[in-house]
Point group: C2
Chain length 321, copies 2
């Protein structure tokens, strides 16, 4: 059931309590990628079970199902990490999960989703939503959307609470954006508690729909052929969700975009200098820091390393340089 109410700080605090037994409190890792004026820390959501922050929102949604909804199971469509996260959250709660995935999804993500006991249904990317609707009509399964949902946003927002708790002196938080679930939640948490901290979205230039929309102060949707050009496969969503846009419009300070080479360069530095494995989408916020550091306010910067499910050949290629 899509929840369209605005997310408040209290929802995020409640989510933090709810997910505490399932979700890892990920470390904030100091790095040497920053400067004396702007030291950089990475919030390593790549170490979350399943390898991405998505477990937070999925768990927060699944744990609020009614007994009747639990019996019918959950369903979603996802380019990968939300799929795996929902499968995992559902299994933890003893609920059946059906995941509709685009055929082009990396094999590593398909396999990881099946390994969590979920039923995987592969479809053409354009048919994702209709396939979900047809399956829902048949089974009564509850849709847990990847980002455009208040429970999901509140769950992702728990990242923001942890950042503030671990680094009270933070000046800027850099967050990768695709559908906008992560940045919506983080922005509500951070701006509610510490309005002076800057929350900045980072996108690939090739999937810069939010950058365009933000400058026009309206939600903009690109087409899938356009966003599909970026190597950051987790960030190919064509536009932020409607509920996400409302939160982004209210709370986010700025949007910056990064070229593809910067994403690959950041992956390499994260692997070799910080010793963390990131997927391309996971390196986008760090790429934003490396490209735009001089434009940020002075003070500590946190970049969200959103996930680490990377194709082995790509990781090898990037590391080899």
């Amino acid at each position: 059931v899509k929840n369209i109410s605005r997310v408040k700080l209290g929802d995020i605090e409640a989510a933090a309590t709810r997910v505490a037994g399932t979700v890892m409190r990920t470390p904030l890792v100091p790095t040497e990628l920053g400067t004396a004026q702007r030291p950089l820390f990475l919030k390593a959501e790549s170490l979350q079970p399943g390898g991405s922050f998505k477990l937070r929102g999925a768990t927060n949604a699944v744990l609020q199902l009614t007994p009747d909804q639990r019996a019918r199971g959950v369903i979603t469509h996802s380019s990968g990490n939300h799929a795996q996260a929902l499968a995992r959250a559902a299994r933890s709660a003893g609920v059946h999960a059906t995941i509709v995935m685009p055929r082009q999804s990396p094999e590593v993500k398909q396999a990881a989703t099946r390994a969590q006991g979920a039923e995987v249904v592969l479809v053409d990317i354009a048919d994702r939503e209709s396939a979900v609707a047809a399956l829902q009509a048949e089974t009564g399964a509850v849709l847990v959307p990847p980002y455009d949902d208040a429970h999901v946003i509140a769950g992702q927002g728990t990242v923001g609470l942890e950042v503030l708790a671990d680094l009270p002196e933070v000046a800027t938080v850099l967050v990768p954006v695709s559908g906008g679930g992560l940045i919506s939640g983080i922005a509500v948490a951070v701006k509610s508690l510490r309005p002076e901290v800057r929350v900045i979205a980072v996108e690939p230039e090739l999937a810069g729909d939010l950058a365009e929309g933000f400058s026009r102060r309206e939600r903009v949707v690109w087409d899938a052929a356009r966003t599909g050009r970026t190597i950051a496969d987790g960030l190919r969503v064509v536009g932020v969700g409607e509920l996400n846009w409302v939160h982004i419009d209210q709370y986010v300070d700025d949007v910056i975009t990064v070229p593809e080479e910067a994403i690959l360069g950041a992956m390499r530095r994260i692997a070799l200098d910080v010793r963390l494995v990131s997927e391309p989408s996971g390196a986008v916020a760090t790429a934003g820091f490396l490209e735009a550091e001089a434009t940020l306010p002075p003070g500590p910067v946190v970049a969200i390393l959103s996930g680490g499910n990377v194709d082995p050949d790509l990781l090898a290629k990037v590391v080899r340089g």
Copy 2:
């Protein structure tokens, strides 16, 4: 000044307080490499500033220098990670560091040591100790040995305190061994507080001097040509230190050895399944788990991921598979 007294729990607790401002409290990362009976967690010392646990012991030693010793500076020889750690600990404390390194040390480790402001002196591996002695005679610098020293052992032992605090239900701790500083400290901490927890050393078969010595209940030293065969360049020390042997003999439950292929296989799984970068030495404890899981007592297992300073080409090769 080499400290030859036995390390006690109180020394390790004091070290934990002393190093808290410099050393990272590293995360204990849950993995899916274990089983229901023996879940595996990795203690990610690779995320420590400088990329290894060595910062703990070096910091504990440097922070106990007298004002006169501080003025004369510190010196050591090291195959790499201790070098970088001492350079870093010294810089933090405003003390000059001279590091004698074997010419064969990976370039990445030499460069990282220089980047920390240390003076690096390259010598043939056989001349390391004499070069240190000559420089000490000249400058009066204080030797901070890599492992055979009570302050260093106490510092490394702080890893054990953190493991017990984060996972009170731990049944087994697997620790890589070279000179024995890490396992000596961890064994004192763990066995003093929780004698029923098993502390097991893991070595490459090709550098299995401790396995041989442990079975004979005496300290055994191999020659450098023999230990030099392992890809785990951090574990090529020819024998554990004398002070280390005393602690290992008293506290360690068992020693297991792993073949080279198992080390590389563990590196790959750590990178792709746990999303952490390890150097070969850092993957040895996990390799021990993967090889010998069935022989361990039931209950949660912690493998110490001791470091992540890996040659990029080797990492790429291992990841590509």
